[in-house]
């Protein structure tokens, strides 16, 4: 079990940012699942339970807060950590993210090494 690859679900609407996170995590030995909006992500989560979720905040259709609320209603996902990724980095944005109960806040532009390190810490690997 220990060396089985962990799976990260990435929910992000901007294609280049998605590509970056996917490639970064794949290079660093993770499996990735990607969804370009919240609705698709909630569909995916009905079928699979990832080890961790990276969730963009500013998205059309359903924003990150709503997606997060839905995730937290689902007890099957209780143990799945959700990290918010956002280019809105004003103090008010960060406070809102913390209040909403995300496990962490990652400001964009991401620090690639820092993000990988953080994910490993959350997964205790």
């Amino acid at each position: 079990m220990a060396d089985e690859k962990k799976t990260i679900l990435i929910i992000e609407d901007e294609p280049l940012n998605m590509r970056l996170t996917v490639d970064l995590l794949e290079i660093n030995g993770f499996n990735t699942l990607s969804c370009c909006d919240g609705i698709a992500a909630l569909e995916t989560l009905k079928k699979t339970i990832p080890d961790l979720i990276l969730l963009d905040i500013n998205m059309p259709k359903m924003n990150g807060y709503e997606v997060h609320e839905n995730i937290r209603k689902d007890s099957r996902l209780d143990r799945v950590k959700v990290l918010a990724l956002s280019a809105s980095v004003m103090k008010e944005d960060e406070e809102r993210i913390r209040k909403a109960g995300f496990n962490d806040f990652i400001p964009k532009p991401i620090d690639t090494k820092g993000l990988v390190k953080k994910i490993r810490e959350y997964l205790s690997i």
């Binding site: 901007e14 970056l20 970064l24």
Partner: protein, 374 residues
């Protein structure tokens, strides 16, 4: 002077004073109306005596809808609340004017209020000016709000492409997608550094606009300043080694835990050190010292043996977007926001920032931090 002569003299003063002087009884009926009032409001004496102020010089409601009839009624009940009072009045021809009134109760032998003596001065122009100021202030506030939200949007929009620029550069730099030639590596470094520079620029502009809007708050915490100062050379180590610049630190005893905004203090030191390496030619020296002063503050100095600042240019160092044009500074990327922001951060803590410099010899930048912030 006889009693009669005195009476005439007083009457003359009241009649001819350059103020509105009137008396009214407890119903609000006019019992006296001086000549100035007659000229001002356009009523002859016989037209107004015995008439109620409401309906003559007081409109039932003023132009903002305030109920002036109720005010006059209340005045008869509570004269002491209207010792000085500003309200809108109306002239016979319908023109409105703002008058500042002083009102004095006139008592009878039993001590009951019989009449009210009112002295008024036209403050219409003052009021208009005041309204202009309020309007201008509101306009400025809404412009400021628009500016803040513009900056927040700009910051968000710029960060999204920067995420790709910085992120993909980092992926390539690590050789994780295959080895690069030296030239490719060099160019990639430029892309990455420029991306980082752009990011720090966005952060500086956001910070500056917050300071200017008076919205920058200190996030105070206790931290070890000695540690922070000792570790600060990490910021410039690589460049210093590359340019043969010697680094030395002298942190005096007693510099330990302080209560301040750690992120901002760190940024000030980073800005000072990055200027020091930027403006010091190869083989120079950079030092950092810290000591307690007798005045309950810590004095930090970042010194270099660089190009120095001429006295005539010294005013520009702390001005936004100003860089001293020299053959040297042109070689280096910069925006001219580092020092103005640093100074503001220091001042938010209640400290000061200044420098001493000699052209060609080097520069000493100083700042103080009070031991007890907040």
């Amino acid at each position: 002077m006889s009693r009669d002569e005195l009476d005439i003299q007083y009457r003359d003063i009241v009649e001819n004073a350059n103020s509105i002087i009137l008396r009214m009884d407890m119903n609000g009926d006019v019992t006296y109306f001086n000549r100035f009032a007659q000229n001002f409001f356009g009523y002859r004496q016989e037209e107004i005596l015995g008439k109620n102020v409401v309906g003559t010089i007081v409109a039932p409601t003023d132009s903002s809808g305030r109920d002036l009839k109720a005010m006059i009624d209340d005045m008869a009940l509570h004269p002491s609340s209207y010792v000085s009072n500003e309200n809108e009045n109306v002239m016979k021809n319908g023109r409105r004017a703002w008058i500042a009134w002083t009102n004095k109760s006139i008592l009878d032998e039993d001590g009951r209020v019989r009449e009210i003596l009112c002295i008024g001065n036209d403050i219409t122009r003052l009021k208009e000016a005041e309204e202009e100021i309020i309007k201008a202030k509101e306009a400025a506030e809404s412009a400021n709000k628009a500016k803040s939200s513009f900056l927040a949007n700009m910051s968000h929009e710029l960060r999204t492409p920067l995420n790709a620029i910085i992120g993909f550069s980092e992926l390539m730099k690590d050789d994780s997608v295959g080895p690069l030639t030296d030239k490719q590596k060099e160019y990639l470094d430029y892309v990455w550094e420029s991306g980082k520079h752009l990011l720090s620029l966005i952060n500086d502009i956001l910070d500056l606009s917050k300071v200017e809007a008076g919205k920058m708050e200190l996030e105070l915490s206790e931290f070890d300043l000695k540690e922070l100062l000792k570790k600060s050379f990490i910021f410039i180590q690589e460049k210093a080694v590359k340019h043969g610049i010697a680094l030395s630190a002298d942190i005096k005893e007693g510099i330990g835990t302080v209560k301040a905004d750690q992120r901002k203090v760190k940024q000030v030191i980073f800005n000072l050190l990055s200027n020091a390496v930027k403006f010091t030619p190869d083989g120079g020296k950079i030092g950092i010292t810290a000591e307690k002063t007798g005045k309950g503050e810590i004095l930090v100095c970042v010194s270099d043996t660089g190009i120095g600042i001429e006295a005539k240019d010294s005013g520009r160092v702390f001005s936004e977007f100003e860089q001293i044009d020299s053959e040297y500074s042109r070689k280096y990327a910069g925006t001219g926001l580092g020092m103005p922001l640093s100074k503001k951060f220091v001042e938010l803590h209640g400290g000061k920032m200044w420098f001493e410099s000699e052209k060609g010899k080097g520069t000493h930048f100083y700042f103080t931090l009070p031991l007890n912030v907040g």
